[in-house]
């Protein structure tokens, strides 16, 4: 299986993206901001199709537009809460605009499917390097802000009283979420970024009781699901995104069951 260049590229890309998505996703779930990841990916679709229209690689369009949208969401912050109708309309419009951009070029259908559902087997070596550079940048930012980010996530009122800026870390974090969304979209497409960013992280939240273990388990699960998904795609010829999403859902359901079991046994003890 690893004799093929495209398979080696696929595994390399999936490794980079899964480790990043698992790590960032843990904080995303802890902060209750999973919807932000979803929203950013929709906006990213417009960026990707717009980029193709002007002859730029779609990944760059994704990165630029999601990061700008992430920073914007971070600055608006609290004002966006409880605005689900307005946000939903903006997202619908973003997808509609993306569709318009797509209709302007000819390789319409295959390009659309790749953007929406991903195709990790089509990742070239140049994209792998880009993913590595952006992934390292994102993890470096996380390494710097993780501690205050955690404080502002768990105890925002106290953090603010201690002079820690909620907005600063909220904006920086959403910028990292945007980069992670753009990266994840390369693997599973904009519609399925939840599979890598939320599924493993939500399972890790249920399986662990400490932050360090949680982040480690989340990154490991994302990696496991991505690798196994690609392997299954190779042997079955079914789309890799389908397998990754299915594994993500299965692992999450298993984590629910294990919590159920452990609370049953502890109540019996």
């Amino acid at each position: 299986m690893l004799d093929y260049d495209f398979m080696r590229h696929a595994f390399a890309a999936a490794t980079i993206v899964a480790l990043l998505a698992g790590t960032v996703g843990y904080f995303l779930v802890l902060r209750g901001q999973t919807f932000a990841g979803h929203a950013l990916s929709h906006v990213g679709f417009t960026g990707a199709t717009g980029a193709v229209l002007i002859g730029v690689p779609p990944l760059w369009g994704l990165v630029v537009v999601t990061v700008l949208a992430g920073i914007g969401m971070g600055i608006l912050g609290e004002k966006l809460a409880q605005r689900d109708v307005a946000i939903g309309m903006v997202l619908a419009f973003a997808l509609g605009l993306g569709l318009l951009f797509l209709s302007f070029f000819t390789a319409y259908a295959s390009q659309a499917t790749t953007l929406l559902f991903g195709n990790v087997l089509a990742v070239d070596v140049r994209t792998v390097w880009t993913l590595l550079a952006l992934g390292l940048l994102s993890l470096a930012i996380m390494g710097v802000i993780a501690r205050p980010l955690l404080f502002t996530s768990l105890q925002p009122d106290l953090a603010e009283a201690k002079g820690v800026s909620l907005r600063l870390y909220g904006v920086l974090f959403l910028a990292v979420v945007a980069l992670t969304t753009a990266e994840s979209a390369q693997i599973v497409g904009v519609l399925l970024v939840f599979a890598l960013m939320v599924g493993p992280a939500a399972a890790a939240q249920r399986l662990t009781t400490s932050i360090v273990a949680g982040v480690a388990v989340s990154a490991f699960l994302a990696l496991f699901e991505a690798w196994l998904g690609i392997t299954l795609a190779y042997y079955t010829d079914w789309p890799s995104s389908f397998w990754i999403v299915s594994l993500s859902v299965a692992v999450y359901l298993l984590s629910l069951a294990s919590t159920r079991l452990s609370s049953l046994s502890s109540s019996r003890a």
């Binding site: 779930v29 802890l30 390494g143 710097v144 802000i145 993780a146 501690r147 205050p148 955690l150 404080f151 502002t152 996530s153 768990l154 105890q155 009122d157 106290l158 953090a159 009283a161 201690k162 002079g163 820690v164 939500a202 939240q205 249920r206 399986l207 662990t208 009781t209 400490s210 932050i211 360090v212 949680g214 919590t259 609370s263």
Partner: protein, 213 residues
């Protein structure tokens, strides 16, 4: 109105480390099994950049504040599984990080049953005396606090009255505060505030505890 605000003898500043603060927490932590220890620990040097890894000194400080509220065992359990009163103990421990001299507690009795309310009040009183600190404790309900507070700041209908419980919680003072007939009834050392026979629900007490009062 003009005036000057000083905190512990110095001008008020943002993020003053001499002030400990216990906010109200509305989060339920329903989707996570995160344990209390990590929650408390997040506030130790929480503003420092870098990875959220605790140093030896951090862990000593965390153990110290957990011991103050006898919550070392409790902190090993997921936040999701502990009761409201137990959660207040962890929050109290968190507010004691860094040895504050003034403790601000924002409605620590909200949504606790009477037994847990008593436990929180007794614990706060014990800490106040043991550490020799000043505690500002806001509450809606006066009765759980009678006997433990040194001074009360009563807020009602846009006015305020500061003094001892015996000075402030009286029929004439409260009637003046509200501008209507208020009855204060004392039974077995407990105080009931009634308006036209109804138990009043206005935001009312801000009892202080002073170390030397």
């Amino acid at each position: 109105m003009r005036g000057e605000i000083t905190v512990l003898g110095a001008p008020a500043t943002r993020g003053n480390p001499a002030i400990g603060y216990m906010p109200q927490v509305h989060r339920t932590f329903s989707g996570t099994r995160l344990r209390g220890w990590d929650f408390v620990a997040s506030a130790v040097g929480g503003g420092r950049l870098g990875l959220p890894i605790t140093s030896r000194d951090d862990r000593i400080e965390i153990d110290r504040v957990l011991d103050l509220v006898s919550a070392r065992t409790l902190a090993k359990r997921p936040l999701l599984e502990i009761s409201g009163g137990e959660r207040q103990r962890l929050l109290l421990a968190q507010s004691l990080i860094g040895n504050p001299r003034l403790l601000l507690l924002d409605e620590p009795l909200v949504s606790l049953d009477p037994r847990h309310q008593d436990e929180v009040v007794q614990l706060v009183k014990t800490l106040q005396q043991q550490l020799g600190i000043t505690v500002l404790f806001s509450a809606h309900e006066l009765n759980p606090l009678v006997g433990t507070m040194d001074r009360v700041l009563y807020l009602g209908a846009g006015h305020a009255e500061l003094g001892t419980v015996d000075d402030v919680i009286t029929t004439p003072v409260l009637s003046r505060l509200y501008g209507s007939e208020i009855d204060v009834v004392r039974v077995d050392g407990r105080v009931f505030v009634m308006s036209g026979g109804h138990h009043l629900e206005e935001h009312h007490t801000g009892p202080h505890s002073h170390p030397h009062a």
